[in-house]
């Protein structure tokens, strides 16, 4: 093509158009999953409860990315930065200002919302790979910024901060791990319900219109700039809450826990769970928590290769992630009902 301009025809959007009804689970399935989440911790060891807590936390972070990418079509490799800001907000408030852990969570949601919203402003002009690079830059910069000398008094520099694990309130007879699990579960449920409703609302429809076709959306009267930055803000806020919970659960924050590797894991979680399918976020979180451990146990020296091969297997079998399995299951159930 000799002209200096290249024309891209319609239908080449980066993110699939997932209709909003296909984004959630049915009521029956949801209740079964909820019951399992409530009952299982009563019968397992503390370490497994801790892993389930981490599963919910990473699930939240993946969910946040899913709202941004699956909902509004914007790509981000910078989620680890928002996660870090949330974690540090909680850690600093708890350790320096002695604020109750539960109260630090809304604070870090607000702080991260502001941060994400402001970051979304200049990112408005970028899309696709360019946005990926910008968010990537944020993710690589964050650990270095947290190590800066003049913040060291608050952040503890390279050493990081130790966070105290909260006891169960009102003298409830449960271990710290179990209390933290139920606390995380409550927060996760609240955010999950909020997200589902957000995507079904007017704002959610605006996100999806932008994802599917920005120009068409703006000509229908959607304020593209507002909703794109809003998506960044909401996503950052949820990631920040996940970061706060993560800091409390792990009892430790340090700059090098929040590198680009975390952002890449969250991205993989989203792909494995199915882009744009909210319940899939938790399936993806399970993948990024358990599969690396599994790979390690299969072969120590080649754990990276084993992980890569497993990841390839998953994306070959189900290129659309766990969502594809859910759809297949639904169709099967439908056929069984007819017979």
């Amino acid at each position: 093509m000799s002209a200096a301009e290249e024309v891209v025809a319609e239908g080449h959007q980066a993110v699939e158009a997932v209709p909003k009804r296909a984004m959630t689970l049915g009521t029956g399935t949801s209740l079964v999953v909820l019951a399992a989440l409530l009952i299982v911790p009563l019968f397992v060891k503390n370490f497994i409860i801790f892993q389930m807590t981490m599963l919910l936390i990473y699930g939240l972070a993946v969910l946040a990315l899913n709202i941004l990418t699956g909902g509004s079509g914007q790509f981000s490799l910078g989620q680890s930065a928002f996660y870090a800001v949330g974690a540090y907000t909680s850690a600093v408030l708890m350790e320096h200002a002695n604020i109750n852990y539960a109260l630090t969570i809304p604070v870090s949601a607000v702080v991260c919302f502001g941060f994400g919203y402001l970051f979304g402003k200049p990112a408005l002009r970028l899309s696709g790979v360019y946005l990926a690079l910008a968010t990537f830059a944020l993710a690589t910069a964050m650990p270095q910024l947290l190590k800066l000398n003049f913040l060291e008094h608050w952040t503890g520099g390279v050493q990081g901060l130790v966070v105290t694990k909260p006891d169960a309130p009102f003298g409830l007879p449960m271990s710290q791990d179990m209390w933290l699990y139920y606390f995380t579960l409550i927060v996760t449920l609240a955010i999950y319900i909020f997200s589902v409703n957000l995507l079904r609302s007017r704002s959610g429809r605006a996100f999806m219109a932008i994802r599917d076709n920005e120009i068409a959306a703006s000509s229908m009267g959607v304020n593209v700039a507002l909703y794109k930055t809003l998506a960044f803000g909401v996503s950052a806020a949820i990631t920040g809450v996940a970061g706060s919970l993560g800091a409390i659960a792990v009892q430790f924050v340090a700059p090098d826990s929040y590198t680009i590797t975390l952002a890449i894991s969250l991205f993989l979680g989203m792909v494995v769970g199915g882009v744009g399918w909210l319940p899939g976020s938790f399936v993806g979180a399970a993948f990024i928590i358990f599969v690396p451990n599994m790979a390690e146990s299969i072969s120590k020296g080649l754990s990276g290769a084993v992980f890569g091969v497993l990841l390839f297997l998953v994306i070959y079998l189900v290129p659309h992630g766990a969502r594809q399995i859910a759809i297949m299951g639904q169709q099967l159930a439908g056929r069984l009902k007819k017979n």
């Binding site: 024309v7 319609e10 990418t69 970028l126």
Partner: protein, 292 residues
């Protein structure tokens, strides 16, 4: 003033590394329309192959040619075996595939050649170039090779039938298929060429950063940044972008107080993003117009 010119020269020298990598990044972007996260690891693996060949007694240039051929074939094989089945899968799934490939290559190279740092020879010598302490003959040679590579690619894409076919397949695949171009093989060819260019970059970079499985981590980030800065559609832009990133990085390290080695990368990236905010398609990239 002398400090300034010295720093610019040093920046050009490191920029040559980034330019080489950026060229490989742009090549594959032209062919497949994505950034390949595993590109650095593929280059690292090729470099290890050439090192192994030299250990077995081949001369530098013999190893160079064999490695080039190996990389070309390996690139095509990876596309045919691993990524062709994903051609219809969503873009983000493909990106996950690149990350998987990254993990596989990195981990296997670590197992085969372990993680100790190895010396890698240079064909250009490492004496000071034209009496300057800042730029060695190796770095000058690297700049020379990058420029030659760029010229070669320009002629290939501009004046050969197959170059034209590749450009057509990348920009309008449907129409290209209608005029009888085998677009699927053009993509494979793009992978082969990009891998071969990556292996050249790897072999040129290895004497500077030393050979080890993680040698490409930092370089690839700068290579991406350079490619994006120059405009992902322009090989010329990639090379210019590479040199600019090298210069940016050095000047930021010298003149902005409190910037140690740690903050060089974030600052360079921040600068690139500021440029992108003003020119969203990169300095030399084509602006893409969407049809509604």
């Amino acid at each position: 003033m002398e400090l300034f010119t010295n720093q610019v020269l040093a920046g050009i020298a490191t920029g040559a590394i980034y330019a080489c990598m950026a060229l490989a990044v742009v090549m594959i972007y032209q062919a497949i329309d994505h950034l390949n996260f595993a590109q650095g690891e593929m280059a690292m693996f090729s470099t290890f192959i050439s090192w192994q060949l030299m250990q077995w007694g081949l001369s530098y240039w013999a190893a160079f040619v064999v490695t080039l051929a190996f990389s070309f074939v390996a690139g095509i094989a990876i596309e045919r075996i691993l990524f062709k089945p994903l051609a219809k899968a969503p873009v983000l799934t493909n990106v996950a595939g690149f990350i998987a490939l990254f993990a596989i290559i990195n981990s296997s190279a670590g197992l085969i050649w372990d993680f100790t740092i190895k010396q890698y020879p240079t064909p250009f010598g490492s004496a000071p170039f034209l009496g300057s302490q800042l730029i060695s003959t190796h770095q000058a040679g690297m700049i020379g090779v990058t420029v030659l590579l760029l010229l070669g690619l320009y002629f290939f894409f501009q004046y050969t039938r197959i170059g034209l076919a590749m450009r057509a397949a990348a920009s309008v695949p449907e129409s290209a298929r209608l005029v009888g171009i085998n677009t699927s093989w053009m993509i494979a060819l793009g992978w082969g060429m990009a891998t071969a260019i990556g292996s050249i970059a790897g072999m040129l970079i290895a004497p500077v950063v030393f050979l080890e499985p993680n040698m490409m981590g930092g370089v690839l980030i700068y290579g991406f940044a350079a490619a994006v800065l120059g405009g992902l559609t322009s090989p010329f832009g990639a090379v210019v972008g590479g040199f600019l990133v090298g210069i940016f990085e050095n000047l930021a390290g010298t003149y902005i107080p409190g910037v140690g080695n740690e903050l060089k990368l974030p600052i360079a990236l921040a600068l690139i993003i500021s440029v992108l905010v003003v020119k969203p398609a990169g300095l030399f990239g084509r602006h893409i117009v969407k049809r509604v």
